[in-house]
Assembly symmetry: C2
Homo-oligomer: 389 residues x 2
Amino acid sequence: MMPENKKIHIVGSHITQFGELWDRSLEDLAYEATTQCITDADLQPKGIDAIFVANMTASQFETQAHLGALVSDFLPHHPPSTRVEAACASGGVAIVQACQALLSGLYETVLVVGVEKMTDGSADAATVLSAAAHQSAEYGSTFPGLYALLAQAHMQKYKTPRSALSMIAAKNHGHGISNKKAQFRRAITPEAVEKTMMVSEPLRVLDCSPISDGAAAVILSTTRSKMNNSIQIIGFGQGQDSLQLSKRKSLTSLQSTKDAAQNAYRMANQGPESIDVAEVHDCFSIAELLAMEDLGFCEPGKAAAAVLKEKTSVAKNSVAFPVINHSGGLKACGHPVGATGVKQVAYLYELLSSSTNYSTGLTHNVGGSGATAVVTIVQKVNSTKGTQQ
Amino acid sequence: MMPENKKIHIVGSHITQFGELWDRSLEDLAYEATTQCITDADLQPKGIDAIFVANMTASQFETQAHLGALVSDFLPHHPPSTRVEAACASGGVAIVQACQALLSGLYETVLVVGVEKMTDGSADAATVLSAAAHQSAEYGSTFPGLYALLAQAHMQKYKTPRSALSMIAAKNHGHGISNKKAQFRRAITPEAVEKTMMVSEPLRVLDCSPISDGAAAVILSTTRSKMNNSIQIIGFGQGQDSLQLSKRKSLTSLQSTKDAAQNAYRMANQGPESIDVAEVHDCFSIAELLAMEDLGFCEPGKAAAAVLKEKTSVAKNSVAFPVINHSGGLKACGHPVGATGVKQVAYLYELLSSSTNYSTGLTHNVGGSGATAVVTIVQKVNSTKGTQQ
């Protein structure tokens, strides 16, 4: 349960354009997310008590560390500001740190900014991203290669068809068309996915999320809330597993996701059946399939069948499943790695605020090949499903 | 005041050898600090509820990010683990995050590990460390260069003599002789400092802390304490200022240090007069002089006179001043950047546990040229000075 009966309200958000933004710097993106988020929350800058900044790669691409201080300097009163990093789960982990800071009672209102500038950098992207894996145990491996191993294991164990992976990519591209901030806003067919170049068997180019620039921000508060329309984080959890795949107990599920989800569900006093919409970490198409099973939306080995029936799409959603990756996910919306976990929360806040179709959402953000996972549960206060306790 | 009347006990520590450790990897150092610290605390690994890992440069030197997961994997139950980075203040910021996590009530016992492997890396150290500065506003600048500007400003405003800088380096080398973990354990004279090569006027080689490998860890707990000998963190604060010097209001003091100290003193309900011993961030000799003034140990412009009378040395300590950098400081103990802020707390814990000369200590950890600063106040429970409220 949420400690001390404190409630964590989401009171503002901003997501920048995601994409190859050759005219925008790391600082430009962080500045837009910070200032527009404060405006969206209808706050003065001095209303921000502390800041958490999520970023993975700026030290490597831009030789720029110390992003806590960089973002704090956007505000005249220089609030305490901390960068956190957990590879592609940096954003999710920053949300967790922000929630913990609020629950400590030291702060009432905190800003979380996720930002990544991955194009136009001075380093090779595959090398930079490989830093999320174990450098001595998995030296030379790439992330498509590591996720391809997970895909191979899942296909072998559960007879998972290749077509399910293609359907996931096509669904997320379909969803992305409606998201103005998405990097890719064009439909693709499952057949088209299977005609793209092989990256690492069985993963092809269109199974993979892109290299992206972008930023996202949310403001969380224990004392402020928008009247009549309060959206709260009612549960969160962070799970870990071995960095290297060779030490894992299973290659067909991510223990970190299971642990994070269990903690989040327990804190929210709700289970997977409550979730109307989920933003999950589809860095590769196989990752969304694993997430569906690890988050408890279906039994292990059963996700592919649901995907092939389009049960998780906006158009053909079944009540037995949440809509998954309404934003287009990492695949179509884009994956500026440190921004992604913050974008997931920001996107659900905006969706739940504007749509009556959804009252409870879940975010799922993964670092590396599953060494870190963060799950949050976001709910409209007037939801009729369950009660936060 | 400390929220919720919770007390944060330090219940274990470990500091590895600091130095040029060509036979030790990043992971070796983190492993030693983690496992030996748990042994020192007389805990089972499962007694650790969460981990905070401080590191600045592993993404650049070792292409290894995701250190939270790396360290979590040393423990069989894989507790939630988060890397935080604030340049050379990474360790201090990790201590702050750990305290906030404890005060949230979500965790009872947390491990903080600071680690840095700076030698044998694949990148140029001056470039890697320049990531702590503002890369577009201060492109091409080095940290000796930035601190040399601060030194020039202080010398001009207060007629600060060059000899005070030399005395600081000589004092810290003298202190380092007694510290078995120190990188340098040999005396130097103030005159010798002034004969070393100029790095950036007025800073010479022996004004500068070294490039180092090393790790340090502490375990903090709200529920465990060693009977009869409890050492607590009774206050902490984190301050920020602009990354670039050109935007600062002053070049003769660090506003971030002042803000961090004010918050820490307020939380501890004590002032600078209570401090018996302080580990301050002497990355360059001028930085210790600034710290003495910004932490309130003396008036602005008065630190040099105290230093020249050796009032902050172990041998000639005056009651009006704390002993400063008993460990040898960054200068003689070494400066593995992410480890330093954790080492400061670990060192004071060990000193206060073993010596009756000191009951209240202060740590001061700075990131970049002062864009981040963290201050903690550490006290023996049976101290006769003041009372935690």
